[in-house]
């Protein structure tokens, strides 16, 4: 086991652990902060998949954007949001069992798929050209977004504009009232 692997599995473990705490925690603030940990570990794992730009975006957008948005959301609103957590009395309800059952079932099916067959032996992976470690992925992404992915890229801008306009509309106060 080399260093790369150690680091990878460390982040993987961190990722899953923090994610588990996020979803089991009854404290929203703790939840959100651990969410940051999860996202960060995920970004680290992206690096192992040679997607450094994605990792960067992940950190910037998610950690910097989404998370801050979430925090702002309940900071802007009432503090009661924080208190609106479920009471700690009951540990588990049937709902949780069903939830656990469903997620485990999905996990089971997915693991079934991923372990049964080695996907690195897929035709296209064997024949394709993998990204080498010293390649500048930012270049690649830049060229691709200006050629193949030009149209989605432009549309994405319209999309964001729409989301902006809409979210702003929802959030802003009614002038008449």
């Amino acid at each position: 086991m080399n260093a790369e692997q150690v680091i990878f599995y460390f982040f993987a473990a961190l990722l899953l652990l923090s994610a588990l705490i996020v979803v089991t925690s009854r404290n929203l603030v703790r939840s959100i902060f651990l969410f940051f940990v999860t996202l960060f570990s995920l970004a680290a794992i992206y690096v192992f998949a040679l997607a450094d730009f994605i990792a960067l975006t992940q950190v910037v957008l998610y950690a910097g954007g989404v998370l801050v948005l979430m925090l702002f959301a309940f900071m802007l609103s009432n503090k009661e949001l924080l208190n609106a957590m479920e009471p700690a009395k009951r540990v588990f309800k049937v709902k949780h069992y069903v939830g656990i059952f469903i997620s485990l079932a999905f996990l089971f099916i997915l693991l079934q798929i991923f372990t049964e067959r080695d996907f690195s032996q897929l035709e296209w992976i064997k024949s394709g050209s993998p990204i080498s470690k010293n390649e500048n992925t930012i270049h690649l992404i830049g060229i691709q977004s200006m050629t193949f992915y030009l149209l989605p890229f432009e549309i994405l801008s319209v999309f964001l504009m729409m989301a902006l306009v809409g979210a702003a509309h929802l959030a802003r106060k009614d002038k008449k009232i």
Binding site: E4, Q5, F8, L16, A19, L20, V22, V23, L28, S31, F35, T38, L39, L42, I45, F48, A49, L50, A51, F53, T57, Q58, L61, Y62, V66, L69, A73, L76, N78, L81, E86, K95, H96, I100, I102, S103, L107, L111, F114, T115, D118, F119, S120, W124, I125, G128, S129, P130, I131, E135, T137, L140, S145, F148, L156, L160, A163, G166, L170, A171
Partner: protein, 101 residues
């Protein structure tokens, strides 16, 4: 060299965790976080597979787009959740059930 399937398994776990949050959490924001987990699981898949797809760069591009879309989605969802809070004084999705048969 990390085997591809390990990425995928991590993604699957994350997906399931997200699913659990979605189904059980009593706070809309936590549900939203669950959804983000699910999306991130997918992004992880994209990234993992994208490693082998240099020419089209589909995986990484898709991951990039997905992140942006998810962020926008969160923005809208949060705006809506705030609105809901204004009316209901709660964001427990299981308590918001005025609309029913």
């Amino acid at each position: 060299m990390i085997p591809l399937s390990h990425f995928l398994i991590i993604g699957a776990c994350l997906f399931s965790i997200g699913l659990y949050a979605v189904l059980t959490k009593k706070n809309a924001i936590q549900v939203l976080i669950g959804i983000e987990f699910m999306i991130n699981a997918a992004i992880l898949n994209f990234v993992a597979f994208g490693k082998y797809d240099k020419i089209n760069g589909g995986g990484q591009m898709f991951a990039l787009f997905a992140i942006v879309l998810a962020a926008a989605g969160v923005a809208v969802a949060l705006a809506i959740i705030l609105n809901v809070y204004k009316h209901f004084k709660t964001i427990d999705p299981s308590k918001i059930d005025n609309l029913r048969n």
